[in-house]
């Protein structure tokens, strides 16, 4: 566990909360504000008194001021369902620093924040050979279990995001966090569209290594795909690299446009960036 977090970093995490635009109104009472008006101590609003209302809720100060009867309304606290989808394909086990390291640290950070906020945590490592996942973790007592799961992820095969998300069968309303390099055959728009259909707040952490963003190879090479073992020969000239850079920019722009379209939070998890910077976007 020490390789994922140190104590200093966990202390910083304690002050972080995942901000959500959605209000959870199902499940157990978690430490999150729900728009439903419930029986907690936190005051929310006034409304006019009607026959049958609990007279103990009548605000007498308001009566004295307006000469009319008003009742107090309080915020109801509900738990959120947090789904963490980690891309565990072979392409994620690449780069310096390695993408899987950043991916798991991010996974651990999100797990901590979820459990610390008394929300329900569900984690799935997605690749073609792994169908395991853990569901319904609650409370900090479950944090160790989450860490162990993350630690034992095997990065192999290809990533089938959409089908794996559907297998998870997420509940309606919640938060989905996808950590991937998005080198997938599926249409990202379909994945995001499905999650939005479930009314999820989506965070898309895009992990890429510097070698993928700006390759610095030159000369004749046979480029081999680590997942499919397919290859092609290329003579890497400056013009070829410029075209690659342009292609990469187009790739990123396309993803960003989709995120805007589907109101998804895009997080640039470039492995050359500092971990704290990456998490800032997810912080309230």
């Amino acid at each position: 566990m020490g390789e994922l977090f140190d104590n200093e970093f966990i202390q910083k995490l304690q002050n972080l909360k995942i901000y959500t635009r959605n209000s959870a109104d199902t499940g157990f009472s978690g430490a999150r504000k729900s728009r439903s008006k419930g029986s907690s101590v936190e005051f929310s609003d006034f409304r006019q008194y009607f026959d049958g209302d609990d007279f103990r809720r009548i605000d007498w100060n308001a009566y004295g001021r307006f000469d009319k009867l008003f009742v107090k309304l309080f915020m109801e606290e509900r738990e959120s369902n947090i789904y963490l989808f980690l891309d565990a394909s072979t392409s994620m086990d690449f780069g310096t620093p390695n993408k899987n390291y950043i991916s798991r640290r991010l996974g651990a950070a999100f797990s901590y924040m979820t459990l610390a906020g008394y929300d329900s945590l569900n984690i799935a490592a997605i690749n073609s050979s792994n169908s395991d996942s853990i569901k319904g973790l609650r409370g900090m007592n479950s944090f160790v279990r989450a860490l162990n799961y993350l630690k034992t992820i095997q990065y192999t095969g290809k990533c089938n995001l959409l089908s794996s998300i559907k297998i998870m069968n997420p509940k309606k309303k919640g938060i989905s966090i996808i950590i991937s390099d998005l080198f997938i055959d599926e249409e990202l728009s379909e994945i995001l569209g499905y999650l939005k259909y479930l009314n999820h707040e989506v965070y898309l952490c895009h992990c890429l290594s510097p070698e993928e963003i700006k390759p610095s190879i030159g000369g004749n090479f046979r480029l081999v795909d680590s997942e499919t073992q397919k290859y092609f020969d290329v003579t890497c000239t400056s013009s070829i690299l410029k075209v690659y850079e342009k292609t990469y920019q187009g790739f990123i722009t396309n993803i960003e446009d989709l995120c805007i379209k589907y109101a998804v939070n895009y997080i640039d998890a470039n492995t050359s960036r500092k971990f704290e910077e990456i998490l800032k976007k997810a912080v309230k």
Partner: protein
């Protein structure tokens, strides 16, 4: 080469995802690229090809054999050309037989024989053996092509909206407006030379003949031409002609007594019927005319101007014997019994048993006459003091009329031609007018038998009426093959329409006391038939009419089917675009 082949060191990357896209961009920018398999592109190419085909309005012809077939077979002179297996006509006939034989059972066939007139050989006959038998008997002619007649017949046949296939077997291509005609070309690559014409002039001491010869081939040629007089070779000359050229030759010193002249090309070609031209020199027998009058210098002078005429004068007397003349002119007198051996011209007639003469009239306004007697007469301004009122008999016709009545009539009665002038020439100023000798000359033309007058050249297939002597008992025409055709009796003289062969024909008249022979020439229609290259006859403006409306549609139009295919492929393309990949 294997050793020299460059080796690429391996470089493992996380994914070729971005590299593949980058290489696709590079390839897309290359000026020359390998054609990629693309379903949409293939579909669009198919659609474009279908559109192009549909615009061509394709159809299957003869997919369903028609129930009605019209076969026009050309039997004109040019079809005698031997530049096919046998002759063009035999070739056409064989084709026609083949068409009839292969027609579907129960179908109707109409054969139109196209010569100098288009006639039906059979009219929509479903009995194949009957049609074939008629075809077998059909012979080629020496006549010209009546394509207009054939057109009219076909149009008339299709008026009842029969869907018929029309076949034209000919060496002359022509179109029929609104009709799809399948032209079967019967021409070959043969060449032809022709004697276009042969004429003569009679001089004082001899006859001069003139021949025109044409070269209807594509090569220059030297043609040996010979002239035969009365069946004997009189002279021979060589004539050099360029392709398409026509030249003339004069033949002089031909004896005056000659009767038959022939000009002949002595070089072989593919059409021999036009290699000889014919001409005749008829001896002109003097015409005997008697003028029975007291005194009429105007009439006497004007009659004497007529060619080849000997005028006799006689005083009017009831005792006179009228016999032995070709024409009797009675001026103010009529014998009790008219002569029977000549025609009659009468001025100022008295009452008689042959026609009614009732009173006198003073003619004022003369009506314009269409009779040949008044040919070339435009001036009707001559004055007339008085005239006998003539009643035109049922055997006559009015020649000149006025408001008051008939002034001149003509007709044939008892084998005699009559021309009756109701007025005395002394009672008119007609004799002082320039038209007077013209009227007299025209009258003599009509009254005197001169053989063929109005036909300048008789071509094979043409027909003609002949004038015969009043005393003729029997008249026959003998063709070059010695075949005889009787044209008289019975009265009236029959139209002669048997000029099938080129050559010298004879009009033989049995006069009772002797025989009169008149010779005339029948020549082939060189002008229309001798150029034996395949011809296309276009009538300006005709082809534009009703082009869109074809009466005899016998084809399956597949344009709509093409359009349907285009729509289907468009739907497939849309589906592939929307749901493919």
């Amino acid at each position: 080469m294997y050793l020299l082949k460059q080796k690429f060191p391996e470089n493992k990357v996380s994914s070729l995802f971005l590299w593949t896209r980058a290489m696709m961009d590079i390839k897309a920018q290359e000026p020359w690229q390998k054609l990629q398999k693309n379903t949409l592109m293939i579909l669009q190419i198919i659609i474009l090809v279908l559109i192009a085909l549909a615009l061509c309005r394709p159809y299957f012809s003869d997919l369903f054999a028609s129930d009605y077939n019209i076969i026009i077979i050309d039997s004109s002179m040019s079809m005698q050309a031997t530049d096919k297996e046998k002759t063009r006509f035999e070739f056409a006939k064989a084709k026609a037989i083949s068409l009839v034989s292969s027609a579907k059972p129960g179908s109707y066939t109409c054969i139109i024989n196209m010569a100098s007139s288009a006639t039906f050989l059979c009219n929509f006959d479903s009995n194949k053996s009957n049609v074939l038998s008629k075809l077998d008997k059909l012979k080629v002619t020496n006549e010209k092509t009546d394509y207009l007649g054939a057109k009219s017949l076909v149009l008339a046949l299709l008026q009842s909206n029969k869907v018929a296939s029309v076949y034209l077997l000919s060496d002359t291509k022509f179109s029929i407006p609104g009709i799809t005609v399948k032209f079967i070309d019967t021409s070959g690559n043969g060449w032809n030379y022709a004697v276009n014409s042969l004429t003569h002039t009679i001089g004082k001491k001899n006859i001069t003949a003139f021949t025109q010869v044409s070269n209807y081939s594509l090569e220059p040629v030297t043609l040996p031409i010979s002239l035969l007089v009365d069946k004997n070779v009189f002279d021979a000359k060589n004539l050099d002609l360029s392709p398409g050229e026509t030249k003339g030759i004069f033949w002089t010193q031909i004896p005056l007594k000659s009767t038959f002249i022939e000009a002949k090309i002595d070089k072989a070609d593919f059409l021999t019927s036009d290699n000889t031209a014919y001409d005749t020199v008829n001896s002109s027998k003097p015409i005997k005319v008697v003028l029975v009058t007291k005194e009429n210098i105007f009439l006497e002078k004007s009659v004497m101007t007529y060619n080849n005429l000997t005028l006799f004068k006689m005083e009017a007397s009831s005792n006179s014997v009228f016999k032995g003349y070709d024409l009797y002119i009675f001026d103010g007198f009529l014998p009790q019994v008219l002569p029977t051996d000549g025609n009659i011209m009468i001025f100022n007639p008295p009452a008689n048993n042959y026609f009614n003469v009732s009173g006198e009239i003073s003619p004022s306004e003369l009506k314009r006459s269409e009779h040949s007697v008044f040919k070339y007469v435009d001036d009707y301004s001559f004055a007339m003091k008085k005239s006998k009122k003539l009643e035109v008999p049922n055997w006559g016709e009015g020649v000149l009329e006025s408001k008051e009545g008939n002034l001149i009539f003509a007709g044939e009665f008892e084998k005699k031609r009559f021309m009756v002038f109701g007025f005395d020439l002394h009672n008119t100023d007609l004799v002082l007018k320039p038209v007077f000798p013209v009227i007299i000359n025209n009258s003599l033309e009509w009254l005197l038998p001169m053989g063929i007058k109005n036909v300048e050249k008789l071509l094979t297939g043409d027909s003609a009426y002949f004038n015969i002597y009043p005393k003729t008992v029997e008249a026959k025409i003998i063709d070059p093959d010695k075949k005889k055709f009787t044209i008289f009796p019975p009265y009236p003289v029959k139209l002669f329409d048997e000029a099938a062969l080129p050559g010298i024909y004879t009009l033989e008249q049995n006069l009772g006391d002797g025989t009169d022979m008149y010779y005339f020439a029948v020549n082939p229609p060189v002008e229309t038939e001798s150029n034996i290259k395949v011809k296309t006859i276009e009538t300006p403006g005709e082809l534009q009419k009703d082009k869109a409306k074809v009466l005899n549609q016998n084809f399956l139009n597949i344009q709509l089917f093409m359009i349907l295919l285009i729509l289907i492929f468009l739907l497939i393309e849309w589906w592939v675009y929307a749901y493919g990949n």
